[in-house]
Assembly symmetry: D2
Homo-oligomer: 106 residues x 4
């Protein structure tokens, strides 16, 4: 897998560079960091459990939406490139993609 | 809802105080904060998308497990108390609990 | 676990008998059965994948909502009874409940 | 969306015809139908709630795995074709794919 990943990393750098999608993900991750600190504070101050659970649920949803942004970029660049190259690389990148999508937590 | 919540908050403080469950949740939340920072760094450094997605998936699972810890405490204390008191409070706390459990993100 | 389950089964029969919640779950399950047959037909007729996925998603949501109906009944009857009885039974039923809630698929 | 879907339907028929993936999905859907009937019976006979919930959870997981089979086929055929054609069709099929993946229930 490493070889494919390294190649993809290189391809990503060449073709895309820092772009909009990235900045969007970074901003959201900063917010999520703040939200996690907020939950820590709520637990520390023994806030009502249901309010803490609601916050946890919100952060999980926010992480999912960052995942969707990253996944889109992956499909638009790496998956798209590998599909055009065909052969073993195409099979490998689809296998890899499906194993992510089969996870419960994405 | 506020009245019930306030009461529950008070009850939680009286009966439980800072305890084991809390410390466990706090430690995990500290870890999660570190993991979110790690994901931010990975996006910044344009790491391979699939590795970022794997990390996001891990953090979502970690948050879920904190939620389970909090939920257990809620059921053992607030829900249990309300069930014994019976009447309107019992119905209200079950309604509230079911509305959390119906959410996708818990 | 069996002894607790048998007891709960007996308790459920005595206390509740066939009631509204049940009928609601049964009607929904009939619908779900029809929906699953519909998906089978769509796959057989090679319908557009995205439409099939949309249907699968709808059936999964419908099953979740049946689960919520069943879960509510469980909390209102078995969990509530065990909480009032206290002791080992209380711990056991909460352990059992938490192990269901910790699953991804509920 | 309809025009794209119709084209994809046609493309699917031409290129793929009845194949292995399909048969796998059909067999699993037959099993799922049987499992849903089993849950109906369990509710009718007032079986222990936790056992019913465990079955619902199993069927939801089984539906997810059928979804993964269908999704893989979609990515291998329709998405792959659209990516090679490029242009508006490429954007459209990625938008459509992302809107499925963003759903909670897939």
């Amino acid at each position: 897998m490493l070889k494919l990943e390294e190649k993809k990393d290189a391809v990503a750098h060449e073709k895309h560079g820092p772009h909009g999608v990235n900045q969007k993900a970074l901003r959201r991750l900063k917010n999520i960091e703040g939200q996690v600190k907020g939950i820590h504070r709520m637990v520390e101050q023994e806030k009502y459990c249901v309010d803490i659970l609601t916050q946890i649920s919100a952060v999980r949803a926010a992480l999912k939406s960052v995942g969707i942004v990253i996944l889109r970029r992956h499909i638009e660049s790496c998956v798209s490139d590998a599909m055009q190259s065909g052969g073993a690389e195409r099979v490998q990148i689809i296998d890899e993609l499906m194993s992510i999508l089969a996870k419960e937590e994405i």
